[in-house]
Amino acid sequence: MEFSLYGLSDIVLSLKVTALANFFALLIVLSTLTVLFIAPNYRLKRSFYLLFTLLVASLFLIVYAHDYLLFFIGWEVMSISTYFLLSFTLSKEALHKYILFAMASALSLFVAILLLYSTQHSFLYEDAKQSYLAMSDGVQQLFTLFMLIAIFIKLGTIGFHYWLVDAYEESHNLFTPFLSAMLSKMGLYALILFVANITQATYVLAVMGLLTTIIATFKAIEQESIKRLLAYSSIAQLGYIVTVLSVADGMGGALYHALIHTLVKLLLFINIAGVIYVTQKEKLSDLGGLIYKLPQSFVFLLIGIIVLAGMPPLGGFASKFMIYTALLDAKYLLLLAGVMFSSASAFIYVYKLIYGIYLGHPTHKNLEEVKEVPWTFLAPQYLLASLLVIIGTFPGLVIPYINRILGELNLTLLSFETIQTLITSYAQYNGFVVMGAFGGIFVLVLMMFMLLRSKAKKPKNRFDIAYCAEEPNEATHLHYGYSMGQELKRVGLIHLIAKNSSKYFYDFLAKQMQYFSEVVRKIYSGNLLLNFNIAVLFLIILLLWSLK
């Protein structure tokens, strides 16, 4: 559907239903529905729903736009409506941080699309490649720079993530799943468009992606607040996608991982939203031992972290596998090693997450009255978890859909035989067999174990543990594991990551800016003598400059 804007014949806008757009639209629908499912638990103002509707509308606009102008409009509206949605809970500083980065992102996107427009006078995706090629080298670099800044800020790529963590942490528990699942995906969508339509920008993406995965993973390990931890985890997960998009055939893996990540982040954030709902606590150090109070939630979180860590046999492994083989295919071996390294490091924070909330013994007594979360929290989790299990079992299920997108983008298709298998040039993976074998072995071992079972005595209370021959009491700090990962700081390299923060850089920037402003402000002192002198000087300079 093409139409023009502002009565100007030189601007053609277009909305188009493409497979890629549908893919993301599906994710939007899924996220919106699941998030709305838990909404009745919170008392929200009417304006919240209004803004949320606006946000979802803007997301659809972004997705179905087929030219960069509509895309940009959607992008801005998304940023602003998110701003007001966040404003319900965010502190002033975090809010300001968010919007500054969002505006920087929007404006650099604006510059980029205008640069694109300047050569071929078209905003359409079809013409983007040509427009790009028509630019001079310098402008091409400028364009890539601005475009990537815009995208990276939205993705929260390391260095540009300063806003993201605070925004996630302080946002409404209802809204966090959506933030993580959808809003960052829009950055991804932009990146996919950029990579597919314009240029690959291989090295930048590779380096940024790898740095993001590794640094964000270690940052996540350090966190003590659940939402901060998951925020960093989101950054890291998107880092994988950025990395894999740097290679020629990475699109399939990227889409696959985007799907999985959306599902799992929805699952995790809804899960912890439920936990926070029933306990009113957000710090890992305040929680613990909830497994027997919230057993269903525990299982869902377990599924979530298994996916997040990319463990077989669930969906997470399938997407990781796609990413690995794509990198392998492109012979980006060190990159692959880096990605696998950060994937292995992720075990620490996923364990920290599940341990901190559900395992161990709570230090505080007041968690003993907690009941299982309301069914409105559980229902979407059932849906998401079963989706993840199904994708894990039949990893080929989504391949035809991804292939449709790849075909549309003129990329190499993924090979597809049955829905149980994923086939790449290096190896194949049969999710059904893995799932079946694991299930079978698990059940067999369990049965054998049950047969041999004898009555074990239950611990009397939470202090009934082996504790260095001492008797722990109320004053003892039982919940130890929430601070795990601290000792990693003693490792030089990791210490470097932990110690340095983009905060210093941005603070420095802000300080310089304010200093500069203070200097410039002196000009407007309202001193008329100065103004007249300068006016005359200005006139003289101009006169003498151009006098013949």
Partner: protein, 235 residues
């Protein structure tokens, strides 16, 4: 001799700036002196033969460029309003001492003459040098004289306002009459036979407007002067 010790830097730099600017201006102006130029004024002189009055400047001021004058009246009106707003009449701020008897008598005697002269200049503005502005200012100077000489003299505020309001409104209304009757604003709708040029009753609306301008300028200038006078003592 140390110049810097005596003269502040700001003065020096101001001197330098203004000197450089003026020298540059002089260079350009002298480089291209406008000597003989076909000007729109010449065309107006010719046009005046058909439409105007004896004093061509008056024709230009009141008729050909009538809107400038209207605007100018407006400026004066606003300025007097502003001065009135800023320096609101305060009966306590008067001259402290009564002025000398001779001055009082002379000014009382002179004032009607000045007024008369002002009115003459106003009324004959379309025939001889002079006109509404000049006449108005002459009248205002008469008022100033009285203000200086008489401690308690005051032109009532309402009188001033009445004059300037009526004059201003009638100016614009005359303009509208022209618009209605002749389809141009300020059009000369009163019959004006060119043969009468040089006579008192000639030129249609031109003398009328100039008299109105005179009244307005006179009242406004008087108002300004009076306002400034009444506040000047305690500054």
């Amino acid at each position: 001799m140390n110049i810097k010790r005596d003269i502040p830097t700001a003065t020096l730099s101001g001197f330098a700036l203004s000197a450089v600017l003026v020298l540059t201006l002089i260079t350009i102006l002298l480089q291209y002196l406008p000597l003989s130029q076909q000007r729109v004024g010449d065309a107006l002189l010719v046009l005046n033969e058909k439409e105007g009055v004896a004093n061509v400047v008056t024709t230009v001021v009141v008729y050909f460029r009538g809107f400038d004058t209207l605007g100018e009246i407006a400026v004066l009106f606003i300025a007097s309003l502003g001065v009135g707003l800023m320096l609101q009449p305060n009966t306590e701020c008067r001259l402290k001492a009564e002025s000398n008897f001779m001055l009082q008598t002379a000014s009382t005697l002179l004032f009607p003459l000045i007024l008369l002269f002002g009115i003459y200049v106003m009324v004959y503005g379309h025939l001889s040098p002079g006109g509404g502005f000049q006449g108005g200012v002459i009248i205002a100077s008469g008022v100033l004289l009285l203000l200086i000489s008489h401690k308690n003299f005051e032109v009532p505020h309402t009188v001033i306002v009445a004059f300037e309001t009526v004059a201003g409104v009638s100016y614009v209304l005359i303009g509208f009459m022209g618009l209605l009757l002749l389809d141009t604003f300020l059009g000369n709708f009163i019959p004006h036979d060119i043969a009468n040029m040089g006579m008192l009753l000639s030129g249609g609306v031109i003398p009328l407007i100039y008299i109105i301008v005179g009244i307005k300028v006179g009242s406004e200038m008087s108002g300004i002067v009076q306002n400034l006078m009444q506040r000047s003592d305690d500054v």
